[in-house]
Symmetry: none
Subunit: 402 residues, 2 copies
């Protein structure tokens, strides 16, 4: 279907704003969901004159990670375009990835007498992680033909990018995890699963050895385990696929990284909702499409903080008039997935969607909530259909067939 | 899925009537859609005891042409069965097409000193078009092994069928348009894109030459441009696919032509709704399935004539009792796509559906309108699922699996 859409795309000067309240969908606690408990007079008024519904990120019963959650609402089938763990980890710590790179996530671990005694090196403090990762970076800058780039994460986690001098072939990261998954077992060797991955595996093997040599003074963090070898998918850019010049406005690196994978512009934005809306306003003339990512709804959901998530939704509502005053041709408010405080993690529930344009029925939903959105004209629909719907409402899709 | 359906089909003596109010779906103008503004006591009463919902012709955001719009509600996946422009054009001017034919749409154009000066020959009057097309037909009846059939359209447009003596292979019409798309450029030669298209291209080349020789006395319409080479798809008939002996009742040639492509009987019917219903009544004993096409809802929508479209819907409502009195086992009222007067062309919006049979829940929709249909038991569903639903309600589908 993405091929069909691509052939129908036409450009014009309309503007589409997509607000993603991360993890916005919820479940009732004492009868009401977070959206139902929030004070949202602006969103509710907008929902009343908008097309409402719920999108299904991947499929019934499937809980999406952040990667598939966002790819779906960006119009990429998340089952077709899977983003490897190493890539997500690298994006999450703010690394830039190119088509020359293999990314992996790494653990510091404890290695004694040929066996892994602790797969997480006793969850060393993040400060120690930073110190050791700097040591690795200072001493390992290049292995064979590839540049090696390190970036610390939290506790025992860090990310590595193996950057080759030229764009790499598809399938260059088919390498097993070296983590034996159980303590008391020997670490595995990185073994290439195909020809293209051979040099990556060779470099990984040297990386493990060189790191171990540099960590001999450490009692706990004296060895590294490599996981999630991945390269960036050869995915059509947002401009190629949908003819949209797009700006991502996100304060967290991983969401900027995801947007960058599909070629959106991703300048660093610091702050929270207020600063993001300011940024939207000051760049409104320069792009066709605006992805505005609001993180804290999800963070509160994951903490099980019902009131915190509710408050964040109410806070966003206060800024909504500043967005509508910009007069986007199409305005969408949704989430990338649900994160009910009740569950404290991502969930499989469909996600409320509001789409405002001149070409909607409206008057079917009284509020922007899970239950009111079930009454809307969009029904429950695949997330991947949201972007085509936005394009149609912006007059950016030609007729299919005669 | 069509293969699955096909294996489940069983015949019986039930009758299915599908009324297609072309482009019936609309959008609010001053708060109400065309269906909401129309006086439709009969449809509303029927909606209340019917299964209601909305069908999605091709996909979210996709605006269908008339071809894909009808194929979908006839149970053929419009993404799988694409009908070429030349075929649609030929059907639209009332030509009959066979599996021996390549159809194309043609323009009269102005050709001077090797360049196209006007791609539409100054939009010559239709009368002159008729005169010239008759001249071409009188002088060009055969080129090489193929019969050549001309049919005038409006202004500068006409259609040509290249009829070979025997059924042609798939892919026999893979030939570029000769229209250079811009004035001041040389016309293109028809170039075959594969082996099967070689003889078609050879004949097209001779056709251009012979037509030019016959048009030398014309100042404006002295050359022809060929576009949209296409052959009829090798599509299973309605009888083969669904076991239904079908009658199409349509006053416009293109809709009869579409129905004929899938093997429906398509006698000429003149007049409007009244005459169509009379025709339905007098043939009700002779078929299993009746496609009744009502055109003017769409025509008014395309003209942006909200009141005209509303009036046409109200007019149809007056005839509805004559249809229900026939006692069809399954009665469907829907459209092939939406044509909101607000937009003045086909749109991507899902289309209201009402399905009446003894085997429905009912009492969910108070009227036959876009908004009331969102409340119905059918939800928003792919157009291609409508025909299987009709078959099931007519007891014409066996159980799947044990």
């Amino acid at each position: 279907m993405q091929d069909v859409i691509r052939k129908l795309v036409q450009k014009n000067d309309t503007k589409i704003v997509m607000i993603v309240l991360d993890g916005v969908g919820g479940l009732p606690v004492q009868g009401s969901t977070e959206l139902e408990s929030a004070k949202t007079p602006n969103m509710d008024a907008l929902a009343h004159i908008s097309a409402c519904g719920l999108h299904m990120p991947v499929g019934y019963g499937i809980t999406p990670g952040s990667g598939p959650g966002h790819l779906g609402i960006f119009g990429y089938d998340p089952l077709e375009w899977q983003i490897g763990r190493g890539v997500l980890e690298a994006l999450g710590v703010g690394m830039e990835l190119r088509n020359t790179d293999v990314a992996l996530r790494c653990n510091y671990s404890t290695f004694t007498e040929g066996l892994i005694k602790d797969r997480r090196a006793g969850r060393i403090p993040t400060d120690l992680n930073r110190e050791l990762t700097k040591r690795l970076q200072d001493n390992i800058k290049q292995i064979d033909e590839a540049e090696i780039i390190f970036e610390p994460g939290l506790e025992h986690r860090f990310a590595v990018v193996i950057r080759f001098p030229e764009p790499i072939e598809k399938g260059s990261a088919l390498i097993n995890d070296t983590d034996p998954q159980k303590t008391g077992k020997a670490p595995l060797q990185p073994v290439p699963g195909n020809n293209q991955s051979e040099r990556t595996a060779r470099i990984a093997e040297k990386l493990i050895k060189q790191a171990a040599d540099l960590l001999t003074d450490q009692e706990r963090a004296n060895y590294i385990l490599l996981r999630g070898f991945a390269q960036v998918p050869d995915i059509p850019t947002f401009e190629e696929a949908f003819g949209l010049k797009a700006l991502a406005i996100a304060t967290y690196p991983m969401y900027r990284g995801l947007a960058r994978l599909i070629g959106m512009d991703t300048p660093v934005v610091n702050g929270d909702i207020k600063e993001e809306i300011e940024f939207l306003k000051s760049n409104f003339h320069d792009y066709d499409f605006f992805f505005v990512h609001i993180k804290k709804t999800d963070s509160n959901g994951e903490d099980g903080n019902f009131e915190g998530k509710t408050a964040k939704i109410s806070e966003f509502d206060g800024f909504l008039p500043e967005i509508t005053e910009l007069g986007p041709d199409v305005l969408i408010i949704t989430g990338d997935h649900s994160t009910p405080s009740l569950i404290k993690e991502h969930s499989w529930h469909p996600v409320p969607v509001l789409l405002r344009s001149p070409y909607v029925l409206g008057r079917l939903s009284e509020r922007f909530t899970e239950r009111e959105c079930t009454k809307g004209e969009l029904g429950i629909f695949p997330a991947v259909s949201l972007l085509p719907l936005a394009l149609a409402n912006a007059g950016r899709l030609k007729k299919f067939g005669a």
